[in-house]
Structure formats: C-alpha cells, structure tokens
C-alpha cells in the first residue's frame, strides 16, 4: 500500500480579538490508498478545522501557520488557487454534517450535480445530466432522471445526504472526507448512509476519512483511528488495537462513554469529567492533565510527543502520554473521577 495523503506538522489558528485560538497544533498523519481512517474526539477538538485545512477551505479568520499536506507528493498548501480548485472535488471530495442546508435551494438537483462534472471532467451539459441520473441511482435514489428536475426542498434529509455523496463522488476523487455526515439524521437513515459509503468505497477504492462522535460507526467502517484532543492527535491505532488495547487515558475515557446496548443513538463523547482546555491559552505540557486520573509530575512540565507505544501489536499504534497506563492501578475504575 502506498501513501496517498501525508499530513505533516499541520498548525492552524484563528485570529480573535484578544489573540489566537489554537485549533490545530502540529497534527501529522498518513492516509494510504483505499484506506478508511476514522477521526474521533470531543466537540471542538479540531477535527473539522484539520480537514478544512487540508484543502484550505477555512474561514477568513483562520490561518495555516505551518505544515505540509502532501497529496501523492504535491503540497496542497503550496499550489495556486487554480490547482487547488482542481484538487477540491476532483481529488478530494467532502461531505458535511448538515445535508438540509448543503444544497443550493435555488438550483435544481440536476444542474447542481452537473456543475462539477462540467467543470472537472469537461463534460457537456447533456453528458453531465445523464451521468448525474446514473449517480443518483448509484446512491440509491430511484427514478434518477425524473428527480434531476426537482429542487432540494423536494428531498428529505437522508436523500439530500445521498445527493451530496453522489456529488462528492462524481469526479472519482482519491479521498472522500466525511465530516459527521450522519449526525443530523434519523437513526435508521444514519445506518443506511454508513452502508452506502461502505459500498461505494468498496466499489471505487476511494480512501475515506470519516469524522464521527459515534464509536460504533468507527468499529464498523474504519481500518485505522485517530483520536484528537485540544488540537493534538493523542492516539493513533488500527481499529482493533484501539478498541482492545487503548493506551491514552483520554481514549480509555471515550471507551467508557460507549453507549450501552439499550442506550440511545450516537451518544456524544462528553461523559469524561471536566472540560477541555481553553484553546486560546494552551499549556505547554500535557493538555489532558486536568482531567487525567493517571497524571504524574512530568505531565505538568512537558508535553508528550505522539510515539509508538510499548509492546504494541502493531507498529502503527502510537500515543502521546508519559505513562504506560497498563502498569498503573487507578482506584476509581477508569478516567474521570479525579481532577
């Protein structure tokens, strides 16, 4: 397997009135061809900003301060706007959280779907419409040709997310970034969307980055997982290793927050005691120490690097923690009790 996307030391911050919000703080990861990578972490930990940084889709207040984003060797942070537009949609497709507002209410579905095909693939309007109808059927919307003439408000949320998926996949990108694509949908429809993306992935071989709060989805779809906290990657592992042998206290906390069997849907990962640090005023030591039951003195003086864990079953299993949590007894049964 060869490396498709190689992100190195990415740093993104927002200018605010009193200074900066440090949203992404030196994030490095690789994505291999055809691989599915899940990104998990609490709300506000920088998942979306990281992904938007890859294709420079950030709001005006944001700036990328450092890093490289190598897509098959080309640094996306260096290429010009024209090349960047070719990458967006052409090489990297994206789908977002809220399908209800992701389509332009003024343009019918057919026209909207044809635009990237005309723009990236140089198709004629007629070819693009024909292809769009096929794409609709491919994402499970029957009677595609007739529905091309309809407007977004004539589609339900789940259908609109299918349309978004069809659009982002229409130019056969190498990477599909899905930023919590099911969060806004009903449970039954969530499962359908996950299945759809799996099916499309298996058919087309696209590499997927799937951002989610829902660990049960991670288990079902991902090859590898990245856990983010306060703009850092705190643990990275193949999916089985992460579930069976989590090494960062924060990851352990997330596991503890897994929904119980009769629990409701998509439980948000917020059941770890305490709250994440202020991103405007980050410590220069471990950002998790205020919430960590394993914390030692060193945690308050030095920030741990993301490094391979001891006795790992897989070389790709890395964590950013000074403590080998397997060797420590915590009285209070998991994370969250101390502060």
């Amino acid at each position: 397997m060869s490396v498709l996307l190689d992100v190195q030391e990415l740093q993104t911050r927002f200018q605010v009135r009193k200074g900066y919000v440090y949203a992404v703080n030196g994030v490095s990861f690789k994505l291999e061809e055809g691989e599915t990578l899940a990104v998990v972490g609490e709300s506000g930990c920088g998942k979306s900003v990281t992904m938007l940084s890859l294709v420079r889709l950030l709001p005006p207040a944001a700036s990328i301060e450092n890093g490289k984003v190598l897509l098959r060797g080309d640094d996306l942070l260096q290429i010009d706007q024209r090349q960047l537009r070719d990458v967006r949609g052409g090489q990297i497709g994206m789908i977002f959280q809220d399908p209800m507002t992701s389509l332009n209410p003024f343009i019918n579905i057919g026209t909207q779907m044809s635009e990237p095909l005309i723009y990236h693939r140089g198709m004629s309007k007629k070819e693009a419409l024909a292809r769009s109808a096929e794409l609709l059927e491919m994402v499970g919307i029957p009677d595609g040709e007739a529905r091309l003439r309809e407007y977004p408000h004539q589609f339900s949320g789940g259908m609109r997310q299918r349309v978004m998926i069809a659009m982002s996949m229409s130019c056969e990108p190498a990477v599909l970034i899905a930023d919590e694509p099911t969060t806004a949908l009903d449970v039954t429809i969530q499962a359908q969307i996950v299945e759809l993306v799996k099916e499309l992935r298996d058919r087309s071989g696209v590499a997927v980055i799937w951002i989610t709060h829902d660990l049960s989805v991670v288990a079902g779809i991902a090859d590898r997982v990245i856990v983010m906290y306060a703009g850092y990657i705190v643990e990275e592992a193949p999916v089985d290793a992460l579930f069976e042998d989590p090494r960062h206290p924060y990851t352990v906390g997330l596991m503890g927050a897994l929904p119980s069997l009769e629990g409701d849907t998509g439980t948000r990962l917020t059941t770890i005691g305490g709250s994440p640090p202020d991103l405007e005023d980050l410590p220069d030591f471990c950002p998790f120490h205020t919430r960590c039951p394993y914390s030692i003195d060193r945690c308050r003086t030095e920030n741990p690097m993301l490094e391979p864990v001891a006795d790992a079953s897989d070389r790709g299993h890395r964590a950013a923690c000074w403590v080998d949590i397997r060797e420590v007894e915590v009285q209070s049964n998991g994370a969250g009790a101390s502060s």
């Binding site: 709001p59 507002t101 992701s102």
Partner: protein, 323 residues
C-alpha cells in the same frame, strides 16, 4: 409535502413532493398575497400609461387653453388646468413617463453599482471591504438633497459648456439638447444617493450566505469564485434585494420630486409629478386640484411598490420552500 418510508425500493425514504416548478410555486404564493395583488394593478397601469400615455391623453401636455387658466375640474378638463391653461390630467399621464424612466434608470444604475461594490466587499473582504464600507458611510452621511444641489450647482454649468464645445466641434445635433445634461445630473445624483443602500444590503447578504453550508459545499467541489457568486450567492440574496428594488423605485420617484421642488430636478418640457407637486404647492389653498392629482398618483405608486416588494419577499423566501 409528505415524507414516507417505502420499503419496496430498497429501504430508502422517498420525499413525496409536488413536482412543480420553483417559480410557479412562488407565483402562486404571490397571488395569494392580497396586498401584493392589489399593488400590482397600479404598477401595471403606471407602466402602461408610461408606454402609451401620449395616445390616451385628451390634450397635448403643452397645449394651452388661455380661456381656461387655473380652471377647476370639469367635463372638459377632468382634473382642471394649470396657470398656463394646460390640461392637468394629460400632464399627469405624461408624467408617468418621467416617473417610470426616473425609477427604472436611476434604480438600474445604482443597483449595478451597488451589486458590484457590495459583492466585491462581501466576497473579497479585507481591505476592499473596508474601502467599500468607508465609501458607503461617506456617501450616506451626506444629506441626499444637499448632495443633489451641490452636484447640480457644480456640474451643470461646466457640462453645458462642454456640450456647447462638442457641438461646435462636431456639429452633432445631439449636443445641442441641454436636457441630456439635466437627465445625467438627476440620474447621477439619484444613483449616487441610492447605491450605498444596495451595496450594504448585498454585502450583508453575501456575508451571511457565504457562511452557509451550500457555499462551503460548492467550494469543496472546486467551483470557481465567480460561479459561486452568480449561481449560489446572488440568487439567494435575491429576496431582500427585490424588496429593496421595489421600494427603491418608489423612493427614486419621490426623491426626483424633491429635486424638482428645489429646482434641481428634470427641467424637461415633459411634465414630472414632482414638478407638478412643487408647482401645485404654491397655491394649494386656492387651487387644490393642481396638487391633489399628482400627489395622489405619487402616493399610490409609492405604496404599491412597497406592498409588491413585501409580497415578492414572502413569495421568494427559500425558508418557505421547506429548505
């Protein structure tokens, strides 16, 4: 519109929707709005009179009846005559032409300027935005009428002198008609006064629309900026813009009458309601018929544009399309 689950087609939900056209829906909603429908009649009538007025008038607008100066309304002169014995009704009909051209031209100019400036400011942000905001603030801080007077006083004489020179140089009859100077000055002043409103509206719309998901999604699909502006941002900004344009048409006509009142309006041989109102005001106590006709027309048209604008806004609002 209902959403139902259909299992036969592979377990996906189908939005059962009326497969009608978006614009037809909007027209239907507009037709359901009583005020808007009421307002359409005078507006259509206005445009009709503006186009065909000269064929409808009982008298020529310049024809003077010296036997009946300042006559009260009668079967001969339905709305009476003015000081020079000209038929008021005929002049009102001709005035529609002035009103419509003032409304259309000045609104078109200020709208184009406002669209360009507002789009640039909203989309590019940064220094361009600061410059445009500063320009609009500057213009808006000056009293409209004062601005018109200053423009008229400073530019009229040099422009007329320039026309004269051009005529001498080219012998082109076009340059002999100083009414063009008047028109340019009035339309210019109106556009100058009105563009900041449109620019600020567009800018605000763009700032709000730019952060919407469908713009992000379009950018993520690699759509070029110009395409996003014309296909995504501007159509979505249309609702409030149409309201503003509709009210602005009425506003431009009222402003023009204020100009006329101050003697910096259109000094055409063709009558303007503003001019008629300002002339009529001088003797409204003795001869109210000179004032009532044009004033009522002006009021009806202004209110109609405002109502129509509101109706259009409701009809075109995407929020009501279940979006």
């Amino acid at each position: 519109m209902t959403t139902q689950e259909i299992t036969a087609t592979g377990d996906i939900e189908i939005a059962e929707a009326s497969r009608t056209n978006l614009w037809r829906d909007a027209v239907a909603r507009l037709a359901a709005n009583r005020l808007a429908v009421v307002a359409i009649l005078p507006i259509v009538l206005l445009f009709f009179i503006a186009a065909f007025g000269p064929f409808l008038t009982p008298y020529d607008f310049l024809a003077q009846d010296f036997t009946a100066r300042l006559a009260s309304p009668s079967s001969e002169h339905w709305l009476g005559t003015d000081e020079l014995g000209r038929d008021v009704f005929s002049r009102i009909l001709y005035g529609a032409r002035t009103a419509v051209s003032v409304g259309l031209v000045s609104t078109a100019i200020s709208l184009i300027v406002g669209l360009v400036m507002g789009s640039l400011a909203g989309y590019l942000g940064g220094r361009v935005d600061m410059l445009v905001v500063w320009l609009t603030d500057m213009t808006r801080s000056m009293p409209a009428l004062l601005l018109a007077i200053v423009i008229n006083l400073t530019l009229k004489v040099p422009l007329e002198a320039w026309m004269e020179q051009m005529y001498l140089a080219t012998k082109n009859g076009f340059f002999r008609q100083t009414m063009w100077v008047d028109l340019v000055l009035v339309f210019g002043a109106l556009a100058l006064i009105q563009w900041p409103g449109y620019a600020r509206l567009i800018r605000g719309q763009i700032l709000s629309i730019r952060s919407r998901n469908y713009v992000l999604a379009a950018r993520a699909l690699g759509m070029p900026t110009g395409r996003i502006l014309t296909r995504y941002v501007i159509p979505n900004a249309m609702g409030p813009l149409i309201v503003a344009v509709s009210a602005g048409m009425g506003g431009a006509m009222v402003l023009e009458s204020a100009f006329s009142f101050l003697g910096v309006g259109v000094q055409l041989p063709i009558p303007s309601w503003g001019k008629m109102i300002s002339d009529g005001l001088r003797m409204w106590q003795t001869h109210p018929h000179l004032l009532v006709g044009p004033a009522v027309m002006m009021a009806v048209i202004t209110v109609s544009f405002a109502w129509l604008g509101d109706g259009l806004n409701d009809a075109l609002n995407p929020r009501q399309w279940g979006g």
